[in-house]
Symmetry: C2
Subunit: 252 residues, 2 copies
């Protein structure tokens, strides 16, 4: 089973869009996928068509030990499950204070080996929730938007991953960097993508998620790109990403 | 003097791009402008061409009382000053724990009445740093990206503004909602902009910041859009925004 943290402290780089659509792509191929929404903004939860603010039990209750994962998980369909979030999760910083609270998500996931993939959507901070994802994960996937302000924080992110690997989760490894929302008409995007590939030759996915408005429309219908616009570029790209991800997992 | 918090907990909606270029637009008109970088990611600081990671003194030292604003402020040019940030500011949550630590920025700004404008760039969270901005500010400017995942958190943001106004800063008022990175080719953007105007008829700025790659390129040169591409659409839009902002301030 592959546990993947989708992480980048920069805002708006496609973490949520990637978690949901990559998860959906893998589910369509017959894998059993669990999505975990680690963002109090609950965008992954809304993307799945779930009214987050109405939920009584969320990921927070799993982390505090007041509920089990099975009690909280939403069955979006047979292949695609989701541990939802809502604004209550923003109390995590205050309530998860005991030593080793970086391990709470990992402990909560133990015994749930029926899933082939666990994809964890991180908020735009390197706080307790993102660290929980890095400790629970085996692989790290970094969505990046090919522009300066988005690339600037990459070194800090990789340092954080290195620290977590060294101290808390020795089996953690970087799986790849994914260029998202790539606009082929923009020279800037080509330049940024080029310098990313130069900097991380083995890490940048060959698959690039091109900008495609269908990917931005699908969330308001609570649908994946495969439900909303199955022939779109967005569907093709996330399908291709799923294929490349499977190859990368096999070769390790 | 107008103190404006540029705030939105959603990532990547143009807070930093707006703070820097709106500030530059006002500075070009002869106003004395102070920018405040409240994000540990320090993108505003980098946007101004300052090597944030090399700084010994930042906003954090001002908030903890270990340095004065004057000791920390960077003079980008005569009209445009900046209180820089760097990663050390992420310790704010841990070190700013005394009662009333939401008032630290406001207190730090007292006595600095030489500025016509103070623009505060918030991180993508509604934590202690953003609350400090709301308590220090007189006006709230909300940049929004006209897409579903970006609009979803607006209610929560406005609730937070209402709570801060009621309990901590009765003179705080919403100045406006600014649509950013607007792509005229996208139906989704037209729809989202339309529904925003319907929902907040008096709040959405007439000026819309259109998507313009020059705005994304300028930061890597440490320049404002007026320095980098003075005839671009981005320069025109931020110039227009400055004009509309001044009108709004006069009419209140
Ligand atoms: N390939 C794409 N084409 C078009 N729009 C996209 C694409 N990827 C993401 N978007 C849109 O860009 C915005 C930001 O994406 P998303 O919310 O997935 O980023 P995020 O990294 O999860 O943000 P946050 O840091 O706030 O959690 C959303 O409005 C989304 O619909
Ligand atoms: N009008 C625009 N046209 C083109 N690119 C833009 C525009 N506005 C912002 N951008 C780009 O979009 C990305 C996000 O913008 P920015 O960093 O200003 O958002 P932010 O809200 O400050 O993000 P964060 O939440 O991470 O602080 C950046 O790469 C920026 O250069
Ligand atoms: Mg997200
Ligand atoms: Mg910013």
């Amino acid at each position: 089973m592959a546990r993947i943290a989708l992480i980048n402290q920069k805002g708006g780089v496609g973490k949520t869009t990637t978690t949901f659509n990559l998860g959906a792509a893998l589910a369509r191929r017959g894998f059993r996928v669990l999505l975990v929404d680690l963002d109090p903004q609950a965008h992954l939860t809304y993307h799945a068509g779930i009214a987050a603010h109405e939920l009584e039990l969320t990921l927070l209750d799993v982390l505090t030990g007041e509920a089990t994962l099975s009690e909280v998980v939403c069955l979006r369909n047979e292949q695609l499950h989701l541990v939802p979030s809502n604004l209550g999760l923003s109390r995590a910083q205050k309530v998860l204070t005991e030593p080793g609270s970086e391990f709470l998500l990992r402990e909560a996931l133990e015994g749930h080996d029926g899933y082939d993939f666990v994809l964890m959507d991180c908020p735009p901070q390197l706080g307790i929730l993102s660290i929980n994802a890095l400790v629970a994960a085996r692989h790290v996937l970094v969505p990046v938007y090919p522009e300066f302000l988005s690339l600037a924080g990459l070194s800090q992110l990789l340092q954080t991953v290195e620290i977590v690997t060294r101290r808390l989760n020795p089996r953690l490894e970087l799986m790849g960097v994914l260029i998202t929302n790539f606009d082929q008409r923009k020279n800037l995007h080509h330049e940024a993508a080029g310098s990313l590939r130069e900097r991380f030759p083995e890490w940048v996915f060959q698959t690039v998620i091109r900008t495609n408005v269908a990917l931005a429309e699908a969330p308001s219908y609570g649908q994946s790109i495969f439900e909303y616009a199955p022939t779109s570029l967005g569907a093709q790209d996330y399908e291709a990403l799923a294929g490349e991800l499977l190859l990368r997992l096999q070769s390790r």
